[in-house]
Symmetry: C2
Subunit: 482 residues, 2 copies
Amino acid sequence: MIPLQGGKTVPYYEQIYLYIREEIRTGKIRRGEKMPSTRQLAAKLGISRSTTQLAYDQLTAEGYLEARPCRGYYAADIDLPFSMEKAQEAPSGAEGRSAGEAFLREESEKDNIRNNHPEKAEKEKILIDFSPRGIDLSRFPFNTWRKLSREILQDENKSLFVSGSPRGEENLRQAICDYLQASRGIPCRPEQLVVGAGSEYLLMLLWQILGNRQVAMEDPTYRQASRVMQGLGHTVIPVAMDRYGMRADLLEESGAEMAYIMPSHQFPTGAVMSVARRAEILAWADKKEDRYIIEDDYDSEFRYRGRPIPALCGSDRLGRVIYLGTFSKAVAPAIRVSYMVLPERLSKRYDEVCGFYASTVSRVDQAVLARFMEEGYFERHLNRMRGIYRAKHDCLLASLESLRGDFHISGEMAGLHVLLKSKQNSEETLRHLAAEKGVRVYGLSSYFLKPEQSQTVILGYANLTEEEICRGVELLKEAWCR
Amino acid sequence: MIPLQGGKTVPYYEQIYLYIREEIRTGKIRRGEKMPSTRQLAAKLGISRSTTQLAYDQLTAEGYLEARPCRGYYAADIDLPFSMEKAQEAPSGAEGRSAGEAFLREESEKDNIRNNHPEKAEKEKILIDFSPRGIDLSRFPFNTWRKLSREILQDENKSLFVSGSPRGEENLRQAICDYLQASRGIPCRPEQLVVGAGSEYLLMLLWQILGNRQVAMEDPTYRQASRVMQGLGHTVIPVAMDRYGMRADLLEESGAEMAYIMPSHQFPTGAVMSVARRAEILAWADKKEDRYIIEDDYDSEFRYRGRPIPALCGSDRLGRVIYLGTFSKAVAPAIRVSYMVLPERLSKRYDEVCGFYASTVSRVDQAVLARFMEEGYFERHLNRMRGIYRAKHDCLLASLESLRGDFHISGEMAGLHVLLKSKQNSEETLRHLAAEKGVRVYGLSSYFLKPEQSQTVILGYANLTEEEICRGVELLKEAWCR
């Protein structure tokens, strides 16, 4: 059995997780093999069931285990260990609920834009806004930020106002590398990084080194990214997802030369790409020279149960993954700092094609952020925010409990929003009924690239207090369950 | 005669300038008419000759007068008033020294890049670096900046960290408009402005609304801009200049659909586009729907004699001029704030095509800069820097006096560098001889789009003290006049 070690260096659930993961990777637990139930395992190990449940949840989230309703947990049908050379016969996904089918769409793009950017007149009646774009700034460490800003302006003076390093300040890039290594499992060097004023700007730079491409995007997806890609001249090809993420078979069929994906926590569906699907997607990229994957890891910081989902980039041995990260969610949208990690050969190409571009982030801002990271404030802030968001998340899910008869809830466990799929009402009906009670919810349809009918609304909670969340859900119940 | 008014609201030289300009515009002084000499005019008006000289210099710089060696001043051959509907028969420029011929080139692009980005080994021997890219930050008002930053972070807190206005904060755009109106004669509204993290980024946005174009650029020009334009996919067509600026006849011949020009102070030649040439260039734009002019007004703040040269944009009645401004020279390169003023119809197109882009400048930086402008610090800083740069400029020109036998000096009176054209030596010889004495000067050749031989070097002085300037010129004399 699993040899657990006391002494608390590694929590029990993580020891179990690591042990089973290794057994599956090395084939000691065979594909499709039935696992003991969480109850049985807990009894055997003499620990609580919640601990084994946590380990199983993590393994399931990452795709090592599959939970079959009423039957228990099975080792997933993974052919190769995660270090992966080539992936075959991963779970087909055909059996999975198709996210693309599940989230249906009904409105025109124009309507959606209005939906997500409400007009003033409509906004005035709204008491509670479940915006998926907000973040909670009430706990932002203003005093620390102010203190660091003051120190930076005091200490450095003149040097901060002359032109800096085009790719971003060395110490900031180093701090980001350290963070990526420790928290996201990405082994990278500061020379691979480019810091820029927002992910959109980084996509413009990427376009300059990669040229116009056929880009596969998950459908639904983060619409802002698809607009940027199209605006630059890329051809965006929507590729449907199943519950494991973008379907690799459809990606191959699509003829795309690049894939833009959010493997750790897909927006808006909240899907986590399974380990097998990751292997398939990496294998897809390896099939042809010059295929690339853009991994947008926009909010991986916020996961409420178990360990963080590792970044795809950390498994990329072939230099195919371009990693995009941002401080918009983790710190604040208005500080306007994002970064990308380029594989070696693209990094060289960057120097040739874009090397002359000056950095778009002011040196003072870079210096403040670097010190914020170096002195441990960033980590503390993240831990604190994770706690705060977890509390809000739990509050929301508890409030939603009584809606489970009429709605399917998904996308929970991570990020800053959940999805509610109605069993009978259209998204539009749900939105209008909610608005009449002074509550704004967001239709999923606006995130689809291909028009789809939708019975799903999105509830973001980051920017609401727990009281507002409870009150909001009460109003939603009044609106929807008359 | 000119009715001068005492009381000092408007200085005498400016009253003279305005009076004569009006006479020329309205045709009361006829084209080609000989003007009284500065001495005669001074005697008649009972004022000093330096005052009339200043007025004549300004009129000459703007193209209303022409100075003919040994013969005096003549009203320029301008056909139409500056409010202009159509311009014809402006000075042909054929008689002028061709800037394109005057500044010759001999080195490969690679060598030029090395030239302007010297390798470490070479740099270590350099005592004095006449870089044209530096600015003087020793007088930067750090205390003010720090104080404003502190105030901003204290006062505003949370609101500064949520996403702001995509085009830039309203109060910053208003402050820029006020400045442009007062100092550059540009009547614009905040709704026409887009604030962005550097001119390069703004060019990327412009490319998105204008698409790939044939872009005429002055030759020589600011190479960074031409690299950006080419990187985006524009076709850059070099168009030669004469002393009045880009030649309008060659612009028409070039087939370009857009012109990128620096009318107030061309980089690197220092040429000021004459009023007649401005009319021709605007008339060129008006000939076809969808022709545009990008006016890069990168350092118009620094002019040492007379009034500032008005921006071309202020004369644009037809919505053809896109104005690009920056705080890189006027405040500091590392604050990374530039802006553009879009003509009405492009502003609409911007909203459609680029409206979804978030601002690339952090809100804190925008707030600090806005307050810096609103509270008069910017104007005071500019006035102070103008004084400091003028002193350095005068010191440099005085030191160079004894070189006038062997060199032609140009580009003086404005900006932060001058050009020295040798009567016998190549640029490369000049650079190498200077480097042997520990002085770095910059070859003009690296700024040419079409390879050209050059006997001209550039001396930037912004970042040097007056002592260093004197010492540097002493060393140059030793190097060049053995």
